[in-house]
Amino acid sequence: MSEKCIICDRISEGLGVVYSDNDIAIIIPPEIVCDGHLFVTPIKHHSIFENLPDDVCANLCDIANKASLVLVDALKCTGTNLLVQSGKPAGQKFSHTGISIIPRFDNDNLNLVWTPRSLSEEDFSMVELKLKNACGGLFVKKEESKKVFSEGKTEIIDSSENKENLMIKHLDRIP
């Protein structure tokens, strides 16, 4: 448990907790978008979504998916949104990650849309190339990565990992 974390406090007090297993809790969060908004969160303190271990993440998402069904069944809503806000620019409110499950109804006027922007062909290609190269490095196994990136590209992976760690440390401090 982290000091001064309102989500950790609520979980330990049981305030607004509607479901709890060994790793995951479903709570009614301290701030909600609308009635029925649930927050599916790891019991152990993790500040941002990217810090979650894979097994906890998979478990969390499974429970979140089921929580969506709970709202459909209980509130007869005609849709749900599963929203993760990671980091302050994404609107993360508490320094404890989780998935918001928001019930939706026709014409409920909730603002869960974004403004699309047009990117030039060059910008698109640049983003595509950067992500593609880095994703390729991330998802191959370590032994394979040496093999795949043996032609001078190994440094790219190493440097990107270092940058990730720095970024995650930075994001860890917010909000």
């Binding site: 305030l15 479901y19 993440c57 994404a90 928001i102 910008d123």
Partner: protein, 239 residues
């Protein structure tokens, strides 16, 4: 995992199969990640399961976990490669939630300070009264979906709040009284099922919180309830 069940008319199935061109950044045998052609920010990735599912509740648990784990890793790549300072992950189930195509799509959007793209809905603080009201509304469905396991009893928590000296105003007490007839109604709805809540000694609640007694209570309730028909929900979403 064997990939099957594609809908040949579905654009996203065809993207997954490579029949429609897209800017793929990652794919494996289960999912495919590619750039949105109408991005909110530079670094807007869509992740789809290759198999055709209309809404997320239809997707098997292992595939859901895989989608989010890949999304998490792509988010880390965006931190390092394009300097994003946060990430929004959004899935819409149903047209009213903003779903535009009958194929599950996860949006992974790179966020930057003051990017003003939206996706930060307004919130308001919940009161104890709100909490009690919502808990009453969803308690039956929680039991149904989770088969009673891990579902916490509303009264138990109210008592826990008292133990923890959480200040409760009169309105909350009124809510608790109001909730009693609901419990009775639920029992009536269960066609003469055992009157569990109204006969229970409140002192026993804490003892029962996590033991088998509570589960067997839920098991009894579970027997009388129909399973949720996911296909029906999907049709409702995509009417």
């Amino acid at each position: 995992m064997n990939i099957m069940a594609n809908d040949e008319k579905c654009i996203f199935c065809n993207i997954g199969l490579g029949k429609i061109k897209s800017r793929k950044v990652f794919e494996d045998e289960i999912i495919c990640a590619f750039l949105d052609i109408n991005p909110a920010n530079p670094g807007h990735v869509l992740i789809i399961p290759k198999e055709h599912y209309q809404i997320l509740p239809m997707v098997p648990s292992d595939v859901v976990g895989h989608m989010y784990n890949i999304a998490k890793k792509i988010s880390m790549v965006m931190f390092s490669e394009i300097g994003s300072e946060g990430t929004s992950y959004l899935i819409a189930n149903g047209m009213s939630a903003g779903q535009k195509a009958p194929h599950v799509i996860m949006h992974v959007i790179a966020r930057f300070e003051a990017d003003n793209i939206g996706l930060v809905p307004e919130t308001f603080e919940v009161t104890d009264k709100d909490i009690d009201k919502i808990q009453s509304k969803i308690s039956e469905s929680l039991i149904k979906v989770f088969e009673g396991k891990g579902v916490l009893d509303k009264k138990t928590k109210s008592e826990k709040s008292e133990e923890n000296d959480v200040i409760r105003d009169d309105s909350v007490d009124e809510m608790e009284e109001d909730s009693k007839p609901d419990d009775e109604n639920q029992d009536e709805d269960d066609n003469g099922g055992e009157d569990i809540d109204s006969n229970k000694d409140p002192d026993d609640d804490n003892e029962e919180e996590e033991d088998d007694g509570l589960e067997s209570k839920f098991d009894r309730e579970q027997r009388d309830k129909k399973e949720i028909d996911i296909d029906k929900i999907a049709n409702l979403f995509l009417k």
